[in-house]
Symmetry: C2
Subunit: 566 residues, 2 copies
């Protein structure tokens, strides 16, 4: 056995993660607090300093050579100057390196691979790195610093460990070899010595997105690695730095362990010359992980056509049913935070809120629709106007999203079915005068205006839709789940009967996850590693789930070798 | 919890099977011996008598109503008269029944489903049934009685239990629900009650084949059932009776347990009006298991086009490398048996034997190619001319296979690259004067004649191909694995270096299983439940493997429900 010391070193981590995956109670391997007590007195400063250096000039930390040029097109949604350039490689070179690197890797045992990969994560998951990754994430995605730290650091790394662990369990559920002895009566025993080899699919490509450059990349990366594949990460050209820092660290660890650092490569591209399709269609690429919008359908088609394993998270339309609640104020607090967090730029943020037009039942009292709407607007106002809270909006990652908010706001003047409940406005971000910001726009739309609300408005845009009541709200939500899919749904009802009806229909017919009666410090757009499956993998919003058995089982085969023992 | 008594009753069986799946040592739940001691004094007679009754008239045992007519077109390869007719159903009726039956089934827990399905198997796996199934298999597939009993009885049922168990394990590796408590400092704990629901894909269709009507049907059937789906079995129109007997028993058990018997339906068709494509393309069908030939490519296309989970076993070209051996006589005994068993009509039977043209090294002596060829021919003669052994050939299932043998034998007179080493001839089967039989045809083909040998000749046809030696043999085998795939390969070498080279290349490049130096009572065309993965799922011969994680993981999703606890 190779890597014996590493295996011993990380055995406890692996065992704990296996337990956590199974029990699905609260578990975190990395601490989510950007605190000096946890990550060291100097980590924040050092991370920031490394980040500032990285902003100026060429990113030379990758252990990949033979670049054909340098390119960078990131710009900070907070307005920070950035001239980072990344090496550009020829696809055939990257593929050749990956093919080379996977030869030894595929012959390690799952236990050896797990130990190496946990070491890779541990060395990348230090305070210095987490702070640098956080600043890099903030100034590409537009997330607040706090969110950047958690999402791209501890939470990402926990998702990586989760995928790694599930992939390990799927392989380790069978022995690697066995002696098979069949009693054959007077002829004596028949004895065969068998080995069961994990045969990876080959090369995996992970296509990153601009809003969560690390969180959405690590699960596929580690699912492919643990099952013996080499991986090429193709980041979004506007959101490279955070994942580049991660990959550079991982390559360094691989090299230090005597492994080929090309096992994990970065293939950055540009908006002008995108590589997503070229990489996905390459005959040596057998696995594709994709996060993004409708282009995911094209990638799914590539997978279908060429028989590749494809894992997607695409666009969806997340919905809420608001029918009754024991404490409407707590509900509206929760919704206001959900809609405001990262200005609605999470794939899990709710968009459509179906509300009984007669009002929301609180105890035995109906709170009129208009009052519900105006109280929700006030709650959002209170958040974004509170200097202690307004940073949660972050900035708007893309100019397109910024324009989309304006388009939505203009709908009210051109479409009779739409009214503005709460207009969007800038949200000043302390220290960043030029930040591109937009507070949540809340619109009211008629039930009949499905052409307006039944598609994704990515960003801080939501619709309150007055319905005939619970039955119609559920029917509309189901229709949307079937046609557009969703990553989250949320239902507020105090009726046990409605609760059961919604749960059954949303899970078994709509094939989407459901959250119920969320109030307090838990929000529907957050999902927790080792507990929540992220994405159902079963509706049009995407075919992948972090991390269910299908997310790892399709990345390898098991092939036997057997020899008669005389 | 439902079915508490059944769960307790079958707990030991489930636990043993879980262990067996993991350890992959010899394990069998059903005894493979058709012995009175095991299955009862009267089982053989009663089974035979039920079979004889079934041969005459309508098969009325299914608990499916609303047939649109009756049809039967089976004929015994052994020449027995058969006028059995099966009910024909409208596809939309069968689909509607399946959709109905799956509603309750999908809401049971994996443990409840496992208990029900083990009960279903136990009640179908009695002596009476096994003997009836054996006669039914014999007189549709042409297998000998002994093989029919084992393959369609105990071995099939073990494969069913294996798939059921793996499917159970994949679901049971996560808890069904958990209370998630996150410490939130001064704010107290955040508590969420979560449920993780197994959401099946919907309806599975299993397309059966003529040669192994039960063995190739049960794994997909039970993999889909344990993961919560309803299943429709579409048997080969020439090979219905054996699986009809199995399904009728299973429907009866479901009904007795208070479940909807339409959970497992049979949709027989006719050669004139086939249903394979209609069923596979139906929008409510989300899983397809297919066993057969090149038509599997069409079914894979249907799956790709519509995003269905498809599991295939198709045509392949199984190969042998014969380079060196410590005891050539034992090798040739083994090969003669392999080629003769069921007249080569197993998807696992070897076809191409690559032999060093300088001869096979035995110790330090080279046995010339011509001598190897003639000794193999003599070994086959000895088997088929031995009245105690000749029944192992069975009869030829299909007229097409019978004609294929003649076509192959005629090659020698039309193609200069081909010579006859051993001609095929009838093999009298005691008691069946009109049996359609053919002993193994062994041809010699030049290396250059890939157009002749590098495609499947299903039936008793094999080629000895003289090569420049081990390196070329391996190269030719790999080329064939990549272009046509295989379910088995077998390599004879006494060189440790060649052994390692072959194992690495065949498993990691050719992505096919390998057997090494088989002699004695173990044959490459046999695969053992709970130990051998059948089919690699990784080469062109098919994308499924009985039973690896992908075989079950793609039949369901896991979707969460979560509620805040105040």
């Amino acid at each position: 056995m190779k890597f014996g010391t590493l295996i011993a070193k990380h055995q406890k981590t692996l065992e704990e993660a296996i337990q956590a995956n199974s029990r699905r109670e609260y578990y975190a391997h990395w601490n989510e607090s950007p605190s000096k007590k946890i990550y060291g007195e100097t980590a924040a400063e050092e991370g920031e300093s490394r980040f500032k250096t990285a902003l100026q000039g060429k990113f030379t930390r990758l252990l990949q050579t033979g670049e054909q040029g340098w390119h960078g097109e990131e710009s900070s949604p907070f307005g920070l100057a950035n001239s980072t350039e990344y090496p550009m490689f020829a696809v055939e070179d990257v593929i050749a390196h990956a093919n080379n690197a996977r030869q030894d890797w595929q012959k390690l045992t799952p236990t050896e691979r797990a130990a190496v990969l946990i070491e890779v994560l541990e060395r990348a998951g230090t305070g210095n790195n987490f702070f640098e990754i956080a600043y890099a994430t903030m100034h590409t995605s537009g997330q607040s610093f706090a969110m950047s730290f958690q999402a791209s650091g501890p939470h990402s790394f926990d998702r990586a460990l989760e995928a790694l662990t599930l992939g390990y369990s799927e392989q380790a559920q069978f022995v690697g070899g066995a002696t098979w002895v069949k009693p054959a009566g007077s002829a004596g025993n028949l004895t065969v010595k068998k080995a069961f080899r994990i045969v990876p699919k080959g090369i995996g490509v992970v296509i990153g997105c601009s809003t969560f450059p690390v969180w959405n990349t690590l699960p596929g990366l580690f699912a492919s690695l643990i099952t013996g594949n080499a991986v090429i990460v193709k980041p979004h050209p506007k959101s490279v730095l955070a994942i580049a820092v991660v990959i550079a660290s991982m390559q360094e660890t691989l090299r230090d362990l005597g492994l080929n650092p090309h096992l994990i490569q970065m293939a950055a591209d540009s908006t002008q010359k995108p590589l997503t399709l070229t990489l996905s269609e390459h005959p040596d690429v057998n696995i594709i992980d994709f996060t993004g919008g409708a282009f995911g359908n094209t990638i799914e088609d590539v997978g279908r056509k060429h028989g590749k394993a494809v894992f997607t998270e695409k666009a969806g339309v997340n919905g809420i049913i608001l029918e009754s609640a024991s404490n409407l104020d707590a509900v509206l607090d929760n919704l206001a935070f959900t809609l405001t967090l990262y200005s609605g730029q999470m794939c899990t943020t709710s968009q459509n809120i179906f509300v009984n037009k007669e009002g929301v039942l609180e105890g035995d009292k109906r709170i009129p629709f208009a009052e519900v709407a105006s109280r929700l607007a006030s709650k959002i106002d209170a958040l974004v106007n509170n200097p202690k809270m307004s940073s949660i909006t972050g900035a708007i990652q893309s100019e397109l999203t910024y324009e989309r908010v304006k388009t939505a706001q203009n709908l009210a003047s051109t479409n009779k079915s739409v009214q503005v409940i709460r207009p969007s406005a800038p949200v000043p971000q302390a220290g960043f005068e030029n930040a591109r910001t937009a507070s949540p726009l809340v619109l009211q739309a008629d039930v009949a205006a499905a052409d307006v609300y039944e598609h994704e408005w990515f960003g801080p845009v939501s619709f309150l839709i007055p319905t005939d009541g619970f039955a119609q709200s559920l029917q509309l939500l189901l229709r949307s789940l079937k046609s557009k899919g969703a990553l989250t749904t949320l239902v507020y009802t105090t009726s046990a009967e409605e609760r059961e009806q919604a749960e059954d229909a949303i899970i078994f017919e709509g094939k989407a996850p459901i959250a119920l009666n969320y109030v307090g410090g838990i929000f529907v757009n957050q999902s927790s590693a080792f507990s929540d499956f992220h994405g159902a993998g079963a509706n049009p919003a995407g075919n992948a789930s972090f991390a269910d058995p299908a997310f790892v089982a399709n990345r390898f085969n098991v092939i036997g070798s057997r020899e008669v023992v005389a």
